[in-house]
Each structure stands twice: as structure tokens, then as C-alpha cells.
């Protein structure tokens, strides 16, 4: 084995490790789906909801946490800060978003559940976070999330937090928001 040969092999190894770094991104997503590592919530169809058995002997407190990214000129809050639900029961929570700027802005909410272990058992049948939300200037909008906590939720978890953060949609970010920074109304 001469030096060129071995250094060629090592260079290929280095390039492969660069690729491996990128491969870790989808691997991480899959692991998060399995373990709930990043607190991302699940979805459930209306059909399977009808088959759920409600556990009336147990109550779970669901807290709502709302955040707005600093680049988005909105306010955003939950109508009820907490709800007490039974596992298996479909519940509706209402949120109110207000566009405080004098321009139309599109945002999207990213949900997260804590503790992360609970996220595997927290499913939504309907959520404003599934789609982009466009609010006209100074528009106020009610947004609904319909969710169900599965009966399999570990016994030691009695409280879980659903957190939403509204972000400017990445497409909108490019240049469009310069006017907002210049708007003294915000």
C-alpha cells in the first residue's frame, strides 16, 4: 500500500463522514417519531377516534403555552390556560391570534408537548398548526385544536403541556418583512 493509495482511502472516509452528518438528520427524525424525543405530537384520523374508549376514572391536566417568535407581529393566547380531560376523550381548545401590524402576514404554528414521553400519546384530529394561517391587517382570528390523550399515557404523567410557537413562514421572511420593521405601529 503506498501513500497515495492510503490517503485516497482516508479522503473517501472523510467525505463519507461528511455525508453521514447529513444522514443523521433523517435518522434523528425517525428516532424522534419512535421515541417522542423532540416533543412532536401525533395525528389521529376521525375514524379511529370513534373507536376510542374513554377512561372516566382518570383525569389529565393539559396546560396550554403560547409563544410568538419575535419576527412575527402577532399576539397569540389560549382562551383557557388549562383543561382537565379524560384519556380517550376528544376535547377542543380555542386559541386567539391577533395581527397587530398594518399588513397581511402569514404565520405557522409549531407544536410541542412536554414531557416528551407524553407526546407519543397526544394526538390531534384537527389543528390550526397543520396549515399556514394568513391574517389581514389588525385581524383577529379564533383557532381550534381538537385533541385526544390516549389511554396508554403512563400513569405517572398527570399533567402535560401543549406549547405552540407561531413563526413567520420561511417564504414570507425573505425581504417581505422589511416594512414591518419600519412600521412604528408595532
Amino acid at each position: 500500500m503506498n501513500s497515495d493509495h492510503i490517503s485516497g482511502k482516508l479522503a473517501i472516509f472523510a467525505l463519507a463522514m461528511f455525508g453521514f452528518g447529513y444522514a443523521l438528520v433523517p435518522i434523528y427524525d425517525v428516532l424522534c417519531d419512535i421515541t417522542g424525543l423532540n416533543g412532536k405530537t401525533g395525528e389521529i384520523t376521525a375514524e379511529s377516534v370513534s373507536k376510542l374508549v374513554v377512561d372516566y376514572d382518570r383525569t389529565v391536566t393539559v396546560q396550554f403555552d403560547t409563544n410568538v417568535n419575535s419576527e412575527l407581529p402577532w399576539t397569540f393566547r389560549a382562551v383557557d390556560k388549562t383543561l382537565v380531560v379524560h384519556p380517550g376523550e376528544v376535547t377542543e381548545a380555542v386559541f386567539i391570534a391577533v395581527n397587530t401590524s398594518s399588513a397581511e402576514v402569514t404565520g405557522q404554528a409549531v407544536p410541542s408537548v412536554a414531557p416528551a414521553q407524553a407526546s407519543l400519546y397526544f394526538n390531534k384530529t384537527e389543528c390550526f398548526c397543520f396549515t399556514k394561517q394568513t391574517l389581514a391587517a389588525h385581524e383577529q382570528k379564533e383557532m381550534v385544536v381538537r385533541f385526544v390523550v390516549e389511554t396508554g399515557l403512563p400513569k405517572k404523567i398527570s399533567t402535560l403541556t401543549l406549547s405552540y410557537t407561531f413563526f413567520v413562514t420561511p417564504e414570507e421572511k425573505v425581504g417581505d418583512l422589511a416594512f414591518i420593521a419600519a412600521d412604528p405601529a408595532i
Binding site: 503506498n2 463522514m17 447529513y22 438528520v25 424525543l37 417568535n69 413567520v168 420561511p170
Partner: protein, 530 residues
């Protein structure tokens, strides 16, 4: 095969002037440049540490504003890790590996030149950010998004600096592996290699495996910022925690990249001054390899508090504990090497002995933080600052210092000033403890890291720590005095230099010829290493 393919065949002729350094393909000249570069960066990074300790001397804001303070903590770390310690390790590897394995030079001398000359440009990029609008990177050397994505003009400079450093160290690592695999003298089998050479094989593989992942992670940040990808941006469906996983997948092997060469140096020095062969040579090799292998499976112990499932926290806790086993093997082997040895205490030996004691303290605090439940208290406090400074300053840096004193007579042909060397050692060894030991107390009491101001309850120990810091910083100037004196002249060094020294490098004249071994020596078990 032909030895030293690629450099000029004119063995007596040394290129002169600036060209000797700019176009150098000589392992000794490049090694010297690496070491001088590392020394300069050590003082630049050290000056930043002095700013940090001056600001923390008393509570309240005295000298700098918080934004600049954060720039100092971030830049201090980047410069010390990538500018001082890594180049110092590569410099020693360049100087010593060809001489230790009986080769005339490195396997790929032109690439060697390139891997060095990338470094000054990389650090000009990085240091230039200090003079930009918005200043230098200030989000911590770990570069976590989203904070680091909010950097101003410094951001792309930071990313491209990392790219350049990555290229430099990968090229260097490839060269080191090619040299050791191809250029060993007859009889120099793998299990006869000096320990320093072994630790560098393993370090080089760590570099090649870990640096590209880091390069990938910072490239993702770059595209997140400028090309609207969303690897780490929650708005686009990404996850900032993913960066922490990628970073520490690189970051944990990186800490072994910093320490393993120091392990190798100490394993050369202890047998020399104990006048006994290294205890448990084979177990030393296997332990080093085991540490390196395990380092790829423990990364998330740096991020216990991000909210991992319990199973994950337990796994990373136990895997971390497992590293203590091969590390313990090394520590006990070093102690067994000293056992009943005829020890003398020249400066390299003193630095090596201090290394064992103080690195072990750093190792133990590392174990404490490896315990998940207690890490929640220690996380991001001065306790972690104390821990990693113990393993990196009296650990890795003392190892490098020991190596410099050990090999300086071989490099220059003159003995260094032993009295000054001892002064340097004792001042450093005492002040480094005054500097970092109180930081354990501060951390346990709850002082967070990376803050310019603190509660008055932390005032006393911070003042002690700062005083230790100033003494430690000033003492390092003695190293410069010793090195300059030694280069200029002094008592003539013999070929063997130290009475108990064994190995090929000590069979060459002091200073060694421009091309180390032009005819490969025949190596036996007895002459291979100490």
C-alpha cells in the same frame, strides 16, 4: 518504495530565507511553524482569558460590556482549542513521528505544507471578526442555534473558519496515518511503536471521523441562515436540538483529539525519568483505542438537560462511565511505571507527574457530571468550567509543555535552563490550582458560566480565581524565555539527551539532520521505545 517521495533530493542543501518557511516540505520546519503558531495563539487566547478574569475579579461591570465579554469567552475557547492545542499536537507529531519510526520525513510533504498554511488564514478570518460591526462570535464556542444564527457579519466568517480548520486537520491526519503506515523502519512493527506514535494514529482517525460531521453541521447552519433550509429552525419544521446532537457527536471525540497526544507524551516521559520500561505497553495501546472507540457513543452526556427520554439518559450515563475503565487502566499503568523506578525530577517529569494528578482530578469531576441526576445541578455552571479546564490546562497543556521541555534539547542541540524551567513548572502548577479549583465551589454554589457579572456571594472565590489566573498567565512568559534562550545557545546536548531515554529519536544527533533517517535503521524490541 522510495522514502520521502516528493521533496528535493538534495540532502545537504537547506532552502534559505522566507522561502524556506513558505514552501517548506520539511517535517521539522513545518513542526516548528506549527509550534510557534500554537504559542502565538496560546498568548492571544490567554490574553482573552485575562480579560475574562479581570472582569470577574469583582462583581459588577468593571472593564468590558457584556457583549464584548461574551465575545471573549467564545473566542478564547475557539482559539485555545483550534488555534493552540490542536496545532501544538500536530506540531509535535510532525517533529517527532518521522524520527520515532525511523523515516526521513512525512509521507506527503507538500500536503503537510498546505495543512499548516491554511491555519494562519483561518485565524485571520476568525480574528478579523473582532473588528466588525456586531463584533466577534459571542454565542459560545458550541455555536448552538438559534442564538448563533443571530450573529451579525461574524457568522459566515465563523463558519468558513471552521471549514478551513477542518480541512487543515483532516489533511494533517491523513498525512500522519500515511506516514506511520508506510514509512516505518524495518523491524518497527505496530506493537513496537512508541506510545506517542500510537496515540497519534488513534487521534488521526478520530479527526478524520469527527471533523467532517462538524463541517456538515456548520454547513447546515450556513444554509439555514442564507439559503432558507430549516435543519435547525423550528419555524420550518427543524429542531435546534438536532444541532446539539451533531455538534457533540463531533465534540466528544474532539476532547480526546485534544488529550490523547498528551497521553502519548506522558507515556514517553515517565519511563525515561523513572528509568523503567512503560508498564503494560499493550494494555496502553488497547486502552487508548477503547477510549477513542467509546467516544463516539457518549455524546449526549453533554446535553442531559435538553429533555431526553429516561432510557436515553441512562444509556448515555452508563456508556460515559464505561470510558472511566480504559482511562483508569492508563492512570494505573503510569503509576506502575513509576513504582520502584529510579526517578529524577527534571522539568518534563515534573509536568508529567502534575499531569497525572491534575488530569485525574478533572477526570473525576467528569465522572460526577456523567451521573445524569446530579448533572442537572452542575450543567452550565462554573463546575463544568472547572472540569474542562482541569482536563485541558493541567491536562492537555501540561502534557504539551512536558513534551516541549523533553524534546527541546533534541530540537535545538542545547540544554534548556533547568532552573527557569522549574520556576515555570512550580508557578504554573500552583497557580493553575488557585485559578481553577475555586471554580468547583462557585459552580456547586450555583454560579452560571458565560456571565460578566454575578451575585456578591460569589465574590471571594472569583477574586481568588482571578489572582491565580493572573499569576498563571504571567508565568507562561517564562516558557518563551526558556525556549528563546535554548534556541540561542546553552550547554551542548548529547544525542541521548536524557540518561534514561530510549527510542530512535535519541539515536540521531542533537539537533537532528535536516532529513531525519536517510538510511532506515534496523529496529529491535530493545531499541524501539522506552
Amino acid at each position: 518504495m522510495s522514502y520521502g517521495a516528493g521533496h528535493d533530493d538534495n540532502h545537504d542543501h537547506k532552502p534559505t530565507g522566507i522561502g524556506r518557511w513558505l514552501f517548506s516540505t520539511n517535517h521539522k520546519d513545518i513542526g516548528t511553524m506549527y509550534l510557534i503558531f500554537a504559542l502565538i495563539m496560546f498568548f492571544i487566547g490567554g490574553a482573552m482569558a485575562m480579560v475574562i478574569r479581570a472582569e470577574l475579579f469583582q462583581p459588577g461591570l468593571q472593564f468590558v460590556n457584556p457583549q464584548f465579554f461574551n465575545q471573549m469567552t467564545t473566542m478564547h475557547a475557539l482559539i485555545m482549542i483550534f488555534g493552540a492545542l490542536m496545532p501544538a499536537g500536530v506540531g509535535l507529531a510532525n517533529w517527532m513521528i518521522p524520527m520515532m519510526i525511523g523515516a526521513p520525513d512525512m509521507a506527503l510533504p507538500r500536503m503537510n505544507n498546505m495543512s499548516f498554511w491554511i491555519l494562519p488564514f483561518a485565524f485571520i478570518l476568525l480574528l478579523s471578526t473582532l473588528f466588525m460591526d456586531g463584533g466577534a462570535p459571542a454565542g459560545g464556542w458550541t455555536m448552538y442555534p438559534p442564538l448563533t444564527l443571530q450573529l451579525g457579519n461574524a457568522f459566515p466568517f465563523l463558519i468558513f473558519t471552521i471549514h478551513l480548520l477542518g480541512i487543515s486537520s483532516i489533511l494533517g491526519a491523513i498525512n500522519i496515518i500515511a506516514t506511520i503506515f508506510n514509512m516505518r523502519a524495518p523491524g518497527m512493527t505496530f506493537m513496537r511503536l512508541p506510545l506517542f506514535v500510537w496515540t497519534w494514529i488513534i487521534t488521526a482517525f478520530l479527526l478524520i471521523a469527527a471533523m467532517p460531521v462538524f463541517a456538515g453541521a456548520v454547513t447546515m447552519m450556513l444554509t439555514d441562515k442564507f439559503f432558507d433550509t430549516s435543519f435547525f429552525s423550528a419555524a420550518g419544521g427543524g429542531d435546534p436540538v438536532l444541532f446539539q446532537h451533531l455538534f457533540w457527536f463531533f465534540g466528544h471525540p474532539e476532547v480526546y483529539i485534544l488529550i490523547l497526544p498528551a497521553f502519548g507524551i506522558v507515556s514517553q516521559i515517565l519511563p525515561t525519568f523513572a528509568r523503567k520500561p512503560l508498564f503494560g505497553y499493550a494494555s496502553m495501546v488497547y486502552a487508548t483505542a477503547a477510549i477513542a472507540f467509546l467516544s463516539f457513543f457518549v455524546w449526549a452526556h453533554h446535553m442531559f438537560t435538553v429533555g431526553m427520554p429516561l432510557a436515553g439518559e441512562l444509556y448515555f450515563m452508563y456508556a460515559t462511565m464505561a470510558i472511566a475503565v480504559p482511562t483508569g487502566v492508563k492512570i494505573f499503568n503510569w503509576i506502575a511505571t513509576l513504582w520502584k523506578g529510579s526517578m529524577t525530577f527534571e522539568t518534563p517529569m515534573l509536568f508529567s507527574l502534575a499531569f497525572i494528578v491534575l488530569f485525574t482530578i478533572g477526570g473525576f469531576t467528569g465522572l460526577m457530571m456523567g451521573i445524569t441526576p446530579v448533572d442537572f445541578q452542575y450543567h452550565d455552571t462554573y463546575f463544568i468550567v472547572a472540569h474542562f479546564h482541569y482536563v485541558l490546562v493541567p491536562g492537555a497543556i501540561f502534557g504539551v509543555m512536558a513534551g516541549i521541555y523533553f524534546w527541546l534539547p533534541k530540537w535545538t542541540g542545547h540544554m534548556y535552563n533547568e532552573t527557569l524551567g522549574k520556576w515555570h513548572f512550580w508557578l504554573s502548577a500552583v497557580s493553575v490550582n488557585v485559578l481553577f479549583f475555586p471554580q468547583h465551589f462557585l459552580g456547586l454554589a450555583g454560579m452560571p458560566r458565560r456571565i460578566p457579572d454575578y451575585n456578591v456571594q460569589f465574590a471571594d472565590w472569583n477574586m481568588v480565581s482571578s489572582l491565580g489566573g493572573f499569576v498563571f498567565g504571567l508565568s507562561q512568559l517564562l516558557l518563551v524565555v526558556v525556549v528563546i534562550q535554548c534556541v540561542r545557545g546553552g550547554q551542548k546536548a548529547t544525542d541521548q539527551v536524557w540518561e534514561g531515554a530510549h527510542g530512535l529519536e535519541w539515536t540521531l544527533p542533537s539537533p537532528p539532520p535536516f532529513h531525519s533517517f536517510t538510511t532506515p535503521p534496523q529496529v529491535t524490541e530493545a531499541t524501539a521505545h522506552s
